[in-house]
C-alpha cells in the first residue's frame, strides 16, 4: 500500500515537473468530491473524445487543396481551450504556435504543428491513463484522497 502510494506520488510529481500537467489539473482534482467522485476521470475522458475529434478535423482541414484557415483556427482554438481547462500544458503550448501558423496561413507550419500536437496529445493521454490506473490501485488498496 505504501508502495503504491509512493509510486503514485512520484508519478504525479513527475507529470507536473515535465509540464505535462499544470496547476489547472490540480483545480480539477479539487473539484472532485463526494457528489462527483469520478469528476476528473469524467472530464478527462471528455477531453480525450473531444480532442480526438478535433485532431481528425484538423487533419481533414489541412488535407484540403484550399485550406480553410478560419476553420482550422477555430478547431485549434477549441483544442487549446479544452487542453488548458484540464491542464494539459504541453498540448496547449503547441496549440498556441499552431494558431500563429494559421494566422500566417502557413500550411507547412500548420502540418508540423499538427504532428506535434498529436504527439503531445498522445503523451498526455498515456500519462493520464497511467495516472488513473495508479490512483485506482491506490484506492483499491484502501487508500483515499483527502477531500478538499
Amino acid at each position: 500500500m505504501e508502495q503504491i502510494q509512493r509510486k503514485l506520488a512520484e508519478y504525479t510529481a513527475s507529470l507536473y515537473n515535465e509540464k505535462i500537467l499544470d496547476e489547472q489539473f490540480i483545480q480539477l482534482q479539487q473539484l472532485q468530491d463526494e457528489s462527483n467522485p469520478d469528476f476528473v476521470v469524467e472530464v478527462v475522458s471528455l477531453f480525450f473524445e473531444d480532442s480526438e475529434r478535433l485532431l481528425n478535423e484538423l487533419a481533414k482541414a489541412l488535407n484540403q487543396t484550399n485550406v480553410d484557415f478560419k476553420k482550422l483556427d477555430a478547431h485549434v482554438h477549441q483544442l487549446k481551450g479544452s487542453s488548458s481547462s484540464i491542464g494539459a500544458q504541453r498540448v496547449q503550448r503547441v496549440c498556441i504556435s499552431f494558431r500563429n501558423y494559421c494566422d500566417d496561413r502557413n500550411v507547412e507550419g500548420c502540418l508540423k504543428c499538427l504532428q506535434q500536437v498529436k504527439i503531445e496529445y498522445t503523451l498526455v493521454k498515456n500519462k493520464l491513463e497511467t495516472l488513473f490506473k495508479l490512483e485506482k490501485q491506490f484506492v483499491d488498496a484502501g487508500g483515499s484522497f483527502p477531500v478538499v
Binding site: 489547472q24 483545480q27 480539477l28 473539484l31 468530491d33 463526494e34 457528489s35 462527483n36 467522485p37 469520478d38 469528476f39 469524467e42 472530464v43 471528455l46 477531453f47 473524445e49 473531444d50 477555430a74 482554438h77 477549441q78 487549446k80 481551450g81 479544452s82 488548458s84 481547462s85 484540464i86 491542464g87
Partner: protein, 656 residues
C-alpha cells in the same frame, strides 16, 4: 414562494428567502461549445452552490432563455461558438431578457474584451477559469437588479406581468430580487385565456401587493394613451402625466408606466431587429433573403407584437387598428377570414421577419373581426405546437426564407397587428425624428447614431432605455445599443423563420434526452414544455451515481428550493440540489432535475443541429414584451415605411 393560484403574489416571502441565502442557488446558464470547459465550469459553479444549466449551443441557450424567462439569473457564454457568435448571443440576451452576461474565452486580447464590453457583457473571463472567479458572479446579478429597480416604472410593470405564474394573474414581484435581473417587462408567457376582453376592460386594481388586475389596452385606451403622450411631448411623457391626461377611471400609473415601457422596449427591439437585418452581419444567406426595408419594420415587429398580443394586454383589436392605420385604411377594411387567420397566425409564427407591409395590405381584408382567440397566447401555443404542420404546409420556403414573397405568403394576423403597432410607434417617432433619420440613413451604419439620437427624443423614458441594455454601469450603453442592432437582431430574426421547429426542437430533445420529467412546468407553449426533457437522463445517469452516494453532502441548498419551486418551476432548477437530495430526482415530482451537463454535452451533432435552426420565434411570441420598439429609430426602416404609407387617422393623432 410564489403561489400557483392566481391570487396574491407572495413575492415578498420569496425575496426574503433569497436575501437570506443569496447567492446560494443563483441560477446560471452556461453556454460553451467546448464540452470539457463546460463540464468544468459547471462543476465549479456547483461548488459555489449555484444552480447550473449548461448548453453547448447558443441557439439552444436562447431557446431556453426565451421559454423559461425568469428562470435564470445570469448567463455565462463563450465567445467562440460555431452556431452563433458569443457577442451576438450576448446582445440578444441583454436585449430580450435583460440578464447579465459574462463572456468567456481562451483569447484574452484587448480588442475582444473591448467588444465584450461594447456588447454589454458585465464581465469577461479568460480561460482557463478558476473557481474563485466564478464565486463572485452574483454581483452582476445584484448590480443589475439595483440598476433596474431604480426605475420607478419597474414595479409598475410587474403588475402586468408574471413570472412564474402559469395560469395565474399578476405578480406584484417588485421585490423579487433574483428575478429583478430578468428585467422589467416580462409579459406572461401563457395565461390569458381569460384575456379576450373587449375594449376597455379594466378591473379596478387592488392596492399594492395584492393582485393587480391586468389592463387590456384596447384600441380606445391606447389611442388615449397615445394622444396623451403626444400632448405631453416625448420628453415629458411620464406615466403620471400621461395618466392624468388620459383621465381614465381605474387606470393606475403603474398600468400606464408598464404600457409605456412595453412600447419603448418594443420599439427599441424592433429597431435592433431591423438594424441587424440591414447589417446582415452573421446572417446566413438562407435566412436573409431580399429584405425590403419597408417590410422589415413590419415583419420584425411582428414577433414582438405577437408577444404583446399573446400577453393579452394589447388585444388584437388594438393591434389591428394600429395596423390599419399604418396601412392607411380604416380598420373595418382589414379583416381576415377566420380560417385564414389561424393559418396566418401559425405561418407568422414561423415566418421571418421580412413581411413586406404592402403585402400585408394585399390582404385587404378587415382584421377586426379576427376571433380573439387567435391572438390568445393559448392559440399561439397551439400554433406553436402545430408549427410543424404549418411549416410543412407552407413548405420549406417558409422555413428558410425570411423574406416572404408576394401575396403567396400568408401573413399572420399577429404580424399585421405587429405592423400596426409598430407603425404607430414609428409614427410617433418619425414625426419627431424624421430629419435625423433621413440624415443618418445616408451615412453608414447608423445604429450608433440612431441610438444616441433616439434616446432623448424617443418615447422611451431615457432612464429606462439604458436600463434595458445597460449591464452594470456600462458607459458604452449607447454605442452598445448601436452595435446591438448590428448583430444581435440578425440572429433573432433568423430565428424566426425557423420557428416551426419548436416542436421539432422538442422532439429532438426528446430523442436526445429521455424526458423523464412528466411535469410540464413551462407556462405557455405546451410543446415547449417538453423541453423539460432537458432533464437529461443521460447526464442524470452519471450524476445519479454521485447523488446516490453522496447524500446530505455539505453542499446543501435548501434555501433555493422554495425560491424556485414557484409556480413555474424552471426545469433547470437546482440541478445541483437535486443531486444532493437524491430523492428529488424522482421524476414527476415537479422538479425535473435536469442535468444540463449532459444535455449540453451534445455528442451527436446531428440531432442537436436542429436546434440551430429551430428558431425561437415561437417562444418569442409567448414571451414577454421585452423587445424594444425602436424600430422607428432605424433610419433605414423607418422612413421607408413612413414614406410608403400614408399616415392614417390614428397616426395623425401622433403628429403634433
Amino acid at each position: 414562494m410564489v403561489s400557483m393560484s392566481g391570487d396574491v403574489a407572495t413575492c415578498k416571502s420569496e425575496a426574503t428567502v433569497v436575501t437570506d441565502h443569496f447567492p446560494v442557488g443563483l441560477r446560471v446558464l452556461v453556454v460553451d461549445d467546448d464540452v470539457v470547459c463546460l463540464r468544468i465550469i459547471e462543476q465549479m459553479l456547483r461548488r459555489c452552490n449555484y444552480s447550473v444549466t449548461t448548453c453547448t449551443q447558443a441557439m439552444v441557450a436562447l431557446n431556453l432563455l426565451r421559454e423559461k424567462r425568469g428562470t435564470f439569473d445570469i448567463v455565462l457564454s463563450d465567445v467562440h461558438m460555431p452556431d452563433m457568435d458569443g457577442f451576438k448571443l450576448l446582445e440578444l440576451v441583454g436585449l430580450e431578457m435583460d440578464l447579465p452576461v459574462i463572456m468567456m474565452s481562451g483569447d484574452g486580447r484587448t480588442n475582444l474584451v473591448m467588444r465584450g464590453v461594447q456588447h454589454g457583457a458585465c464581465d469577461y473571463l479568460i480561460k482557463p477559469i478558476r473557481d474563485e472567479e466564478l464565486k463572485n458572479i452574483w454581483q452582476h446579478v445584484v448590480r443589475k437588479r439595483y440598476n433596474s429597480s431604480k426605475e420607478p416604472e419597474c414595479s409598475g410593470s410587474l403588475d402586468d406581468n408574471d413570472r412564474y405564474k402559469r395560469g395565474s394573474d399578476d405578480a406584484e414581484c417588485a421585490s423579487s430580487v433574483i428575478e429583478g435581473a430578468d428585467g422589467v417587462l416580462k409579459p406572461q408567457k401563457k395565461k390569458r385565456e381569460a384575456k379576450e376582453e373587449e375594449d376597455t376592460e379594466m378591473e379596478n386594481d387592488d392596492p399594492s401587493t395584492t393582485k393587480k388586475p391586468r389592463v387590456v389596452w384596447s384600441v380606445e385606451l391606447h389611442q388615449q394613451f397615445v394622444s396623451a403622450v403626444n400632448q405631453l411631448g416625448i420628453d415629458k411623457a411620464v406615466p403620471k402625466r400621461i395618466l392624468e391626461l388620459m383621465n381614465v377611471p381605474g387606470l393606475t400609473r403603474e398600468n400606464v408606466a408598464s404600457h409605456l415601457q412595453d412600447m419603448q422596449k418594443f420599439r427599441l427591439y424592433l429597431k435592433r431587429l431591423s438594424g441587424v437585418v440591414q447589417q446582415q452581419g452573421g446572417l446566413p444567406s438562407t435566412f436573409c433573403g431580399p429584405i425590403e426595408q419597408n417590410s422589415e419594420l413590419g415583419s420584425l415587429g411582428r414577433f414582438d407584437i405577437q408577444a404583446l398580443a399573446a400577453s393579452g394586454q394589447i388585444p388584437p383589436e388594438t393591434l389591428t387598428a394600429l395596423h390599419a392605420e399604418l396601412l392607411g385604411r380604416s380598420t373595418s377594411n382589414l379583416v381576415l377570414p377566420a380560417v385564414e387567420q389561424q393559418n396566418l397566425l401559425q405561418a407568422s409564427l414561423q415566418q421571418a421577419k421580412c413581411i413586406p407591409v404592402d403585402q400585408v395590405m394585399a390582404y385587404g381584408q378587415p382584421l377586426l373581426k379576427c376571433p380573439p382567440s387567435i391572438s390568445n397566447s393559448k392559440h399561439l401555443s397551439q400554433a406553436i405546437l402545430s408549427a410543424e404542420d404549418v411549416h410543412s404546409r407552407f413548405g420549406s420556403q417558409r422555413a428558410k426564407n425570411i423574406c416572404l414573397g408576394p401575396s403567396s405568403n400568408p401573413i399572420g394576423l399577429a404580424a399585421l397587428n405587429s405592423n400596426m403597432l409598430m407603425a404607430m410607434m414609428q409614427q410617433q417617432q418619425w414625426q419627431k425624428q424624421q430629419q435625423m433619420e433621413l440624415q443618418h440613413r445616408q451615412s453608414g451604419p447608423p445604429e450608433v447614431n440612431h441610438s444616441i439620437n433616439v434616446q432623448p427624443s424617443c418615447l422611451v423614458l431615457p432612464t429606462q432605455l439604458p436600463g434595458n441594455f445597460q449591464v452594470g454601469d456600462s458607459p458604452a450603453s449607447i454605442s452598445r445599443s448601436g452595435s446591438l442592432s448590428k448583430s444581435s437582431v440578425i440572429d433573432y430574426g433568423v430565428l424566426s423563420p425557423q420557428s416551426n421547429n419548436s416542436s421539432g426542437v422538442v422532439q429532438v430533445l426528446d430523442r436526445e434526452l429521455k424526458p423523464e420529467c412528466g411535469l410540464n412546468r413551462l407556462p405557455s407553449g405546451g410543446s415547449l414544455s417538453r423541453s423539460c426533457s432537458i432533464n437529461a437522463d443521460n447526464s442524470v445517469g452519471l450524476q445519479l451515481h454521485n447523488s446516490s452516494s453522496a447524500f446530505g453532502s455539505s453542499k446543501q441548498l435548501p434555501a433555493l428550493i422554495p425560491n424556485h419551486l414557484g409556480s413555474s418551476v424552471p426545469y433547470y432548477i437546482n440541478s445541483s440540489q437535486v443531486l444532493d437530495q437524491g430523492h428529488m430526482r424522482n421524476p414527476g415530482v415537479g422538479k425535473c432535475a435536469s442535468i444540463p451537463s449532459r444535455f449540453a454535452v451534445d455528442e451527436s451533432d446531428s440531432p442537436m443541429c436542429n436546434f440551430n435552426t429551430a428558431k425561437i420565434c415561437l417562444e418569442e411570441t409567448k414571451v414577454k414584451q421585452e423587445p424594444n420598439m425602436n424600430v422607428m429609430e432605424n433610419a433605414k426602416v423607418g422612413p421607408a415605411i413612413f414614406q410608403k404609407f400614408q399616415p392614417g387617422d390614428l397616426m395623425s393623432v401622433f403628429s403634433d
